[in-house]
Subunit: 671 residues, 3 copies
């Protein structure tokens, strides 16, 4: 998708307001620099008050009004909120939990993705919308549904059971293959008929792991099927209009790498908790993930809060400057649009205390002033629209691995993927080094370094890919509990991490999960000492050399960190969980070996630096997350697009201020 301008705006819900308010809305939008609104996200009951009876006149008027004020429309299908009449006519639309409880109308997302009645209605409303507005000049984008798999990610109704069986038939062809894959020989669970198969409902004891994994795969796929059905309608009627749906950060239920390939542009809803001192690390990591879903393509920050949300225990305000910093961070990490939920704060309903661009207090308010200032300064960044973010490091992230890793009955329930990703990500964030996320089967040849934390489930293709990456000269860091099971979640033959034995130059005899609070000491071969936590592998070296050994317990003297030369590359193995200081030591060593360096070295803590670039120019983003004024070196000279000032090697940033310095492109960072 090509961007002519930075999008700026938010969700617009005119149906919550009398028509006299609409004119004030569009006039204020103009003054705030709004050029796009997401419209109609929950309007099904208003657009189709009875089955097949449509009322679009109010929407016609809204579209016209927006258009006449220079605001384009990201037009939504309202399918996240089936109307009450539909639920009444077809109660089977309602989703059902694992223990058989029905979830009712009265909030949102109260539908089963496998219900054929629902799916028919959803495609019909999409078609009616497309036909009506296909030539409307305000129409800029299609916004399908809303936050797929938010609140509920799976349904256990009879339609879902039938759909699961069909999905399994496609995957396995025969029951023999299913019985093999699921390991039904364990606990005598073999199936002799497809109709005997059930989803993983409540059971007396721990469930079949592969049944659970397949159920999650199936549920993830189901939301994509819903999306594709609507997208097909739009591609038929309005082939040129881009189609998107709004994603939700590291959202466990859906494999976003897979889903993103169906979209014309990736969109994200992002609600960092800015009361946390490291909120910007979390949002950075999210933005890097989202950008990586469709590498080298810009994305849209589709929803963020102007200030507080209303669904946390205690909802923090965004203090002065924080919303702007977060918005610029998204742009720096590849976003070409900054949008909010929502335009005008509701007077009623479940989100009336969620902040908005135009708050309850009206325009004489800090929130409004900050929002409209941002909308009016974003156009200064238009030169960046076709630039990209380049990263020399990839962290591997695989939804199927995530799902498998966090199923029960593991050696330790401390095995959680995202905290582990965060630990590595934070090391690179703090060094101001840009990072991509990549699935383990992706082309990794452009990366100097690949980090693979807890790659428990690994397909044969992915294993080959990683082995080849190293053999061809790459540097890989693999952490403990990787290479354990195959795609069916069967233990790989040949011992733990068997697919990587040769590359790593070692074998693993057994795991030592630690009790809470237990530590061991790691002594490095260069004389340092660190504490580990919660896990140790008992490792036997073949060709690898050890970089650090355990000091206590029965495996004392055994290797905790190893390095092995494999082909033209180098493979590191980390057989334990290091605390941050040990991880810092390790990453330093590896970065030095892989010759990866930050864009701007030796900055104060709290200064975040990011780079977008095109063939001839680059744009250095510098954010001051501290409450202090600071002098920051900028490397070479350029112009701060936000202030319009020339910058000569050094810039002054007051508390919570930011700069975007346009510079000539030169060689930097990576050797």
């Amino acid at each position: 998708m090509k961007f002519e301008q930075f999008f700026f705006g938010g969700d617009y819900n005119p149906e919550q307001w009398p028509e006299e308010t609409w004119l004030e809305d569009v006039s204020l939008m103009q003054s705030a620099g709004v050029n796009l609104v997401s419209l109609g996200i929950f309007s099904w009951a208003k657009l189709e008050p009875q089955s097949g009876i449509f009322d679009f006149e109010w929407l016609d008027r809204v579209m016209e009004l927006l258009h006449s004020h220079g605001v384009s429309v990201n037009l939504a299908t309202p399918t996240a909120a089936p109307p009450a009449w539909m639920v009444h006519l077809h109660p089977q639309i309602l989703p059902v939990t694992a223990d058989g409880t029905t979830l009712w109308h009265g909030s949102r997302r109260h539908y089963c993705p496998h219900n054929p009645d629902y799916r028919g209605y959803a495609q019909r409303i999409a078609r009616v919308l497309a036909e009506r507005y296909k030539n409307h000049p305000a129409l800029a984008m299609w916004h399908v549904d809303n936050e797929y798999a938010c609140h509920i990610s799976e349904c256990f109704c009879e339609h879902s059971v039938a759909a699961f069986r069909e999905w399994l038939k496609l995957r396995y062809t025969s029951l023999d293959q299913l019985n093999f894959a699921w390991g039904t020989a364990f606990w005598g669970q073999a199936y002799g008929d497809w109709n005997e198969i059930q989803p993983p409902r409540r059971t007396p004891a721990q469930k079949n792991p592969t049944q659970q994994l397949d159920w999650t795969r199936f549920s993830s796929d189901s939301w994509q099927v819903c999306f594709e059905e609507q997208k097909r309608v739009f591609k038929e009627i309005t082939p040129a209009v881009p189609v998107t749906t709004n994603f939700m950060s590291f959202h466990r239920p859906i494999d976003y790498f897979k889903f993103a390939q169906l979209e014309d542009v990736v969109s994200l809803d992002s609600y960092p908790d800015t009361s946390q001192p490291d909120w910007m690390v979390h949002s950075a990591m999210t933005y890097d993930l989202i950008r990586s879903l469709k590498k080298d393509n810009p994305w849209i920050l589709m929803e963020q809060a102007a200030s507080l949300v209303n669904w946390r225990q205690r909802n923090a305000v965004k203090r002065p400057g924080v919303m702007r910093l977060g918005s610029l961070q998204a742009v720096a990490r590849g976003a070409n649009g900054i949008m909010f939920f929502q335009w005008r704060q509701s007077k009623f309903g479940g989100e009336m205390f969620h902040s908005a661009m135009l708050p309850h207090a009206g325009t004489d308010s800090r929130t409004w002033r900050e929002v409209s200032a941002l909308g009016n300064e974003l156009p200064r960044l238009s030169n960046l629209l076709s630039s990209k973010v380049e990263a020399k490091i990839a962290i591997l992230m695989d939804w199927e691995n995530w799902w498998a890793l966090e199923l029960d009955s593991k050696p330790s329930s401390d095995l959680k993927l995202i905290p582990n990703l965060q630990a590595f990500y934070r090391q690179l964030y703090e060094r101001n080094i840009m990072v991509d996320f990549a699935p383990p089967e992706a082309d990794l040849s452009s990366y100097k370094l690949v980090i693979a934390p807890n790659l428990y489930l690994v397909t044969g293709i992915a294993a080959n890919n990683l082995n080849n990456y190293v053999a061809n000269g790459g540097t890989l860091l693999l952490s403990y509990f990787s290479g354990i099971v195959d795609n069916n979640q069967h233990i790989n033959s040949g011992g733990y991490a068997a697919p990587f034995h040769e590359m790593l130059g070692l074998t693993i005899e057994e795991f030592v999960p630690y009790q809470a609070g237990f530590n061991n000491t790691i002594r490095t071969t260069d004389g340092k000492q660190f504490k580990n936590t919660f896990w140790a592998d008992v490792v036997h070296l073949n060709t690898a050399e050890t970089l650090a050994n355990y000091e206590q317990d029965y495996y004392a003297g055994g290797p905790a960190v190893t390095r092995n030369t494999f082909g033209k590359g180098t493979a590191y193995y980390l057989g334990t969980e290091l605390l941050p200081d040990g991880l810092e030591w390790l990453i330093d060593r590896i970065l030095e070996q892989a010759q990866v360096r930050p864009d701007l070295p030796n900055l104060s803590a709290g200064i975040e630096v990011m780079l977008r670039s095109d063939k001839s120019k680059e744009w250095l983003f510098i954010l001051n997350h501290t409450a202090t004024s600071l002098e920051v070196p900028t490397g070479k000279n350029g112009t701060d697009l936000l202030s319009g000032q020339e910058v000569n090697g050094m810039i002054h940033l007051s508390a919570y201020a930011a700069a975007v310095i346009e510079q000539e492109r030169i060689y930097r960072g990576v050797v």
Copy 2:
């Protein structure tokens, strides 16, 4: 209702015992001063062993026996425990939870208040009882059902759904009005047919707030309907016999201000946890609420424990003297009856470890000695029977506000009403100042000071009432998050607290909910400094003056406490939550301004002073809650009714002792 004597007695369950025990019972009752028992509360299965087959002969004998020993009867309808045969014949009587689970026979209160079969049976047994005993000389009162909405407060069965729809039709007349009130434009929840409406069962995401509020209003009303149906029978057959039911402190499910108007006399079951050092503050607050339900009328402490209960994690004994202190506290705060659950401790069943007037250990026990001593000293207080409690301060308490405030999706889930009421109440309790509770639409003209904590939901009538109260010379203290929504739970137009802007002389731009453990500092204009917690308003002054400002964060310098002159009165606003020392400072200032003073100033901690009075006399209650003997000044002279001794300005109270000093009425306390 007129009291001839203090009631003393308890629940009497003779059906748990062989008839030979009954004679011992009534003889021991006589010796303990028992003059009233609550009879038959759970006797339905015994009175009506099969549908329409009644067995009253045993009850005749009990009534006769009691009467012949001078004990009157508070005769109960047994409708809190429908018999097993009824459940078997009509399983739909059983209540159903929000997730569709049926709750079964085998404990108590296993009925849906909307079930027509149940309601028919309940009225029939009430009628049979009334007809049989209408002329019985022992009959003193009717005790309808038992602890309405205890354990379960709502039912989601099909009868309940139908009743909810009828209730909504009466409230809203049209679906348009319902759709408006519920804000169904949010998340596309509009209803096109009454039959589409459901109660707030389990849903995928947060529920419609007004739907939830109406459901709670409806459920509260439903219990009142059950009560009224039975009361109607009694008023037809025995119009002169007072009708009551037993209430349960700050009992969330039922609007007691509304319910109490249906009763001839208000009754309370009170089970303070006397292991808590401040148990007497909690019970005082409860007793003041209960008295306030029917202002200027005495009430009955219908149940309390002689010693331990059996439903806490760890059930404290009432140590020597504590039961007496608690009983006198109830009398001081308006009770004209002290009753217990129950007369004789059960040998079996779910409450066999709940203490009783006559414990398992029998009469050679501390419990029995303390109970019978109290029963024999209560008659000494007969002069008080037609006296009242007068308070110059009211704390506003509104069930609908309570329900609305504690629904989810608020800026902070720390917003809880009762702890906030307690914080203010405690300030006055510790100063020995009597307090009423009042609903916000009540006549407030008799109060020198009204305190309104977190009056989030406020009707137009209530807002006018408060504005008029101040305009006419009253002093009001309003705390943060007040005046936010109207009766439909829609944000009031004009900004937060809009209905009170003029009265308060300020506006509120935004809320700053704090993270757990976060504090700010408040500096007062008279030079003091206090810590606040969990919330700050960003306030802009108009006519108000500031009494204290914030010291840190982006709203530093902004007002935390303000005062405004409005008409003839004064309005204080507290935009934050103060810790106790700050609240003490504030209440001191306001009491001084409102000229409210305690009955007896400067007493030791642990001494509780209360006053009942009639036109010519007053009775000063002094309770020593400490383990030490103390000399306590009594103001003027009088006679301690408990000891019979003259008191001349000073009384000696040994540990855990009490006095009730009869004095001539003179001016006191309030200017």
Copy 3:
């Protein structure tokens, strides 16, 4: 059952592996000393792939292969895992929870024990197995089902309800007796028809205690009925083959004292958490319980883990030597077989990370080396096979008391039986004194001392038994909250502990349950001072003397510990919960009076000593649980069977080492 050799082996699940693996299996079994495997535990779906269609050829081959390699078979009925086809044909087989939720196929134990279809299928497969293998030379034992009442202990389906009513009819004969026993006069719960009776499903408030107790009794009985139905088949077809099922430590749902009488030999699955420093105390207590179920008979450790399990939060490895120590501990406490779950670690399924004799890492692993070493040293202990364990102390343990004690609505929810048993057991474990567990109606005449903690529910027969035991010269220690209710859970007439008043020489007026963290001080008559916790009785002495009194609170000066001479014996009463130091003082005093002494006195902490003996010999087990080498005195001379070395009064044990010293039998320990 007579043992020719120590059993050594594990669960063998060949159906999880290709047949080519089987030959490797049996060859490795031989090298590891395996002589018995448990076979077919979850093989139903493989043995009977469709209803009535059997496939035994694979099992024939396995049996043959095992036999030809000298491995006997403990052949299992696979009835813990009904096949998918059965569930599909008869969904009513699935168990139902108290709130009506069905538990599905997909793990194991997904059956209702009352379902007639299931029970028919289970007996049929047992019969087919018995007929096929009745003459097979490898058949050594029958293993019925697997871990009865693991995961689910009760079912609330309609079949279960009907079965409960039949059970109640047998128990009570008439509804009048049931109504009396259940105390249905409380809360009006009387039943007029058997069909009105329900199991204790979810109810609004606390349930009828006797209904709950009977439901637990019934559920416990139901598993025994399932066992007996299968056993009957085996006793008909293979009367000489012993029948067992595998028990699970202190397993609340089943009265093992009752169940064990149905078995030919008792078996145990034991999974101590060896990350806990006192794991060996817990396992010792379990082994002593299991041995006591069939006093004087050896038992089989049917399952233990070679290293880690996979169902804890964090699963500890068994560090070097620990598995061996635990195995020898079982032998010392009466086991004649050491078996594992399982032979070869699974590649898939819910327990793939559960360790096995042959781990994922294969034979070049610590686990394999330790397992095969143990298998090869066990035969050295063959002299012990017909020896016994003799104990002079019994701790009373009664499942019905356990169930009743831990129902809700007690004075304190701190009342938990097992921690209390542990507190006493630990005192004796630390003194290296062997202990039996006994039900309160057992013949106690062989014990010098009987300890009865919290014997809340006591039948008349048990009360007489205890009174007679003391009268005839025994020493009894009874702790608080004993003798409170009868078999119907009705409070005993005559005051708390009434059945023991004369024996104890005291009465109990009331209970004082403490709040969390509250303590009182106990001063002993011999001048010591200790803290108590969570409970005090208010005791009045008759003939008893006090050994310690309370120091604070209103019952200060009252007795906390008493002693009374009754007939020829002595009864101690402990009216409170002492912390370990106080308990140590008390047990010292009682042991001295009862003249019980340890086998080896004054040993270092961490040395565990146990004794098995026959008429002429005894075997002293000494385990060094410490990480240090120690010299341990052995009393007299003998031969360490493990090392083959002579021992002359002293033995050297390196860290985590053990010895089993064969000695001539002489007088020891008990006077």
